[in-house]
């Protein structure tokens, strides 16, 4: 197979149907796909052609996907392994990421999600491969540099060009007893000399001046590649008098030599005016020529070093740039993560508000019942008092008649009293008074309990996790939604002795509320909701189990998806379970679900005790 047609995606899934579907989607997106149903086949093929992306189903029949993952990465560490997972096993997917998978796609697969994930995987693979190549290149450069550096230091004490040249020229000038000297270096074009070092009086005026090839003595020497001995400049037409005019220095006699490395002019060295006033001699030129090649080599070495340093810097800046790009891309990802978190927080808030609105109607009923009988009882109490007051005033009259011994009045009032007592049902009234007050008090207690719990339930979290007693939270939530539940189910509490967990009480209430409301709604006529709390392996478990309709198997992977709902339009937001999942995940916990159509559903929330 040639490079062009070699597959660049490998699929490993024991489900034939899934393999066909994934291959189809990815082929349409322009990828070359090879698909395998067993681990052995896939690994063998991968060894022959390590593709940039591997698509791996987590629950292969024979082996757990997570255990296979390192085998691929061992063969090709740059390969991006994409995990395919069912939603209910998201925790496993997270585990896979820790084991080196780069991302996961949740079933049921959306074609665009898969294509996007694969595209990201390829990009990541390419980036990793290129980075690896760049780092290799860099290491090679550094090795070369170190080698040259070591050789150079044996010739010259320093690789720094300017101090080296200064040192050389000082020695040269002293050696030749000259008044002044200069060193010119050929630029990269080979057409222009630059004065790198100028020593002697007025020398500072010459520094960094340039001389064209063929111009003046130095230009001639560079062009001709020959040394030159000028005993008297005034008699040599090649001498450019402009230099003296510019510097205010008078050049009488000079020596000039080209600096050659492998036949190439790298610069020109000039010494000017003997200190004793005499003209330079052949001997002086000979002396200059004896060490000028060393200067040439030193210049060349320093230049190579410089070039290397520059290319090193260039490379470094390229690497830095790439790193910056990568970290920016990372920053973008983080930013969008923050935005997502924000959006999620808003969703949670709106779901909470929707939930509260829904609860308000139920709570109204809960409160209207006690308010109803409290008001009515107070009315009755007033009537009781009026009846009793009527009796008392008649009795007072009866007593005064008794004192007056007014027989006629006494017998009249006795009859009236008797009749009045019967009419008001005095015995019943008196015995009912206590009950009336008791029941009224129960009513006010109920109202204040409901309001208190509603307040506790609806309060905003402080934003910081705090120790939470889940049994209390559940009790609170149950009071608030008692009205939703009591007509549908018998609520059975099996609260265990559980430690506190760290978390946001309001958010956790929301989780329980959503699960309990779902449980009640799953029950068609009347059933049972069983709530169990228990401690297990550093976690607190809250199990909410109903004997309602159950969730069809095909819906199970989607129940935590946002906006997934089986209710009629407008009846549910489809956010309840998704929000619950988000909250539990944020608390570093997990939700397990277990359901059978016709038998019921069990949700279990596990929250870490955070020890």
């Amino acid at each position: 197979m040639d490079q062009m047609s070699a597959p660049n995606i490998l699929i490993l899934d024991d489900d034939l149907f899934a393999r066909v579907v994934y291959s189809e989607i990815l082929s349409k997106a322009g990828y070359r796909v090879s698909a395998f149903g067993t681990v052995a086949e896939a690994i063998e093929a991968f060894r022959g052609n390590p593709t940039g992306v591997v698509l791996l189903d987590l629950f292969l029949g024979d082996e757990n996907g997570i255990k296979i993952l390192p085998q691929f990465l061992e063969i090709s560490p740059d390969t991006s392994v994409l995990i395919i997972t069912a939603h209910a096993s998201l925790d496993t997917a997270v585990e896979a990421i820790h084991s080196g998978a780069y991302d996961y796609v949740v079933k049921p697969i959306q074609p665009e999600d898969l294509v996007n994930a694969v595209r990201r995987g390829r990009e990541k693979h390419d980036l990793r491969a290129e980075n690896r190549r760049l780092v290799g290149e860099l290491i090679g450069q550094v090795h070369q540099l170190e080698l040259i550096g070591r050789i150079s230091t044996t010739i010259t004490s320093t690789l720094e060009l300017d101090p080296l040249l200064n040192l050389v020229m000082e020695h040269t000038q002293n050696l030749l007893q000259a008044e002044a000297s200069s060193l010119m270096i050929m630029d990269e074009s080979g057409l222009e000399l630059r004065i790198a070092v100028a020593l002697g009086p007025k020398a500072e005026k010459l520094e960094h001046q340039t001389i064209k090839l063929g111009q003046g003595i130095a230009g001639w020497v560079a062009a001709e590649r020959k040394p030159l001995f000028v005993p008297d400049t005034s008699r040599d037409s090649r001498f450019d008098k402009n230099f003296d005019r510019d510097s205010g220095f008078q050049t009488r006699s000079l020596l000039a030599a080209p600096l050659l490395v492998r036949g190439k002019v790298v610069g020109v060295i000039e010494v000017i005016n003997r200190k004793d006033g005499r003209a330079f001699s052949d001997l002086d030129l000979g002396l200059l020529l004896s060490f000028s090649p060393h200067i040439a080599v030193a210049i060349e070495n320093a230049r190579i070093t410089d070039d290397l340093k520059k290319s090193h810097e260039k490379l470094e800046s390229r690497v830095n740039e790439r790193t910056r790009e990568l970290s920016q891309a990372l920053g973008d990802v983080e930013k969008s993560n923050v935005q997502l978190k924000h959006a999620q927080a808003q969703l949670i808030q709106s779901e909470k508000l929707a939930g509260l609105g829904q609860l308000a109607a139920g709570v109204a009923h809960e409160i209207n019942n006690p308010i109803g009988y409290i008001q009515s009882n107070l009315n009755s109490l007033q009537e009781y008092f009026q009846d009793l007051l009527g009796l008392i005033s008649r009795q007072t009259e009866f007593l005064s008649a008794w004192k007056r011994k007014d027989r006629e009045k006494i017998s009249e009032l006795a009859r009236e009293l008797d009749e009045l007592g019967r009419k008001t049902n005095l015995d019943g009234l008196v015995s009912d008074l206590g009950r009336l007050v008791d029941e009224t008090r129960q009513g006010t207690e109920r109202v204040s309990k409901i309001v208190k719990n509603l307040k506790a339930f609806a309060r905003a979290d402080s934003g910081k996790p705090e120790p939470v007693n889940l049994n209390e939270r559940l009790e609170e939530t149950l009071t608030v939604i008692n009205n939703e539940l009591k007509y549908k189910a018998e609520v059975v509490r099996e609260f265990g002795d559980i430690p506190r967990v760290m978390g946001m009480p309001g958010e956790l209430n929301q989780v329980f509320l959503n699960l309990l409301v779902n449980a009640a709604q799953a029950i068609p006529k009347r059933g049972e909701i069983r709530i169990r709390t228990f401690a297990q392996d550093g976690h607190v478990g809250v199990e909410i189990k109903d004997n309602g309709a159950g969730i069809p198997e095909e819906n199970l992977p989607r129940i935590f998806d946002p906006f997934f709902t089986t209710k009629a339009p407008g009846k549910g937001t489809g956010l309840g379970l998704s929000v619950a999942y988000g909250i539990v995940e944020k608390h570093k916990g997990r939700i397990e679900v277990d359901s059978k159509v016709g038998q019921g559903t069990r949700f279990t929330v596990f929250l870490p005790t955070g020890e």
Binding site: H365, I367, N369, G372, Y373, I374, S380, L436
Partner: protein
């Protein structure tokens, strides 16, 4: 003195039942209470109830279902709903399907409740009188019809110009 009417109160909260019974204790009808639909059906079966006041949302059965059953089995009983769920949909369903006479909300006004019950019972009384009267009329008509078959022309009354009856 035996009271003429029986009123049955059904609610799943005993405190509500007690309060209602208190506020109706001086009313000219007998008050029965039931704390569940089953108990309510039981009381309906045992005593002849003229008016029933029920919450429409109660455990076990939907209150509307309960009232539908009452309407089917005891069509002569006036049905009133008293509930804390002031929701229109439920009210409409109750009135249409349960044949409910009135829909009252909690918290209730005692005076309003008493007036409502009295008016409903008057309504019931009129209904019954009306039914009794129509039955009477029907019976008379039947007698006349029978007489006419035995003695044709007997129900014909002939009068002369002065209005005197001719025999």
């Amino acid at each position: 003195m035996e009271k003429a009417y029986k009123v049955l109160l059904v609610d799943d909260e005993v405190n509500v039942l007690n309060a209602l019974a208190r506020s109706l204790r001086k009313e000219p009808y007998e008050v029965l209470i039931a704390a569940s639909e089953m108990e309510g059906l039981n009381k309906l079966y045992v005593s002849r109830v003229d008016l029933i006041i029920s919450d429409y949302k109660m455990p076990v059965h939907d209150g509307v279902e309960f009232l539908k059953r009452v309407a089917a089995d005891y069509p002569d009983t006036i049905r009133i709903i008293l509930t804390g769920h002031a929701d229109m949909e439920a009210a409409i369903a109750a009135i249409n399907e349960g044949g409910v006479y009135r829909f009252l909300t909690k918290p209730w006004d005692d005076q309003d409740l008493r007036i409502t019950i009295r008016l409903a019972l008057e309504h019931l009384k009129l209904q019954r009188e009306n039914r009794a009267l129509s039955a009477e009329v029907h019976k008379q008509k039947q007698i006349l019809k029978d007489l006419e078959t035995e003695h044709p022309g007997i129900s014909q009354i002939n009068k002369d110009e002065t209005g005197a009856i001719l025999i």
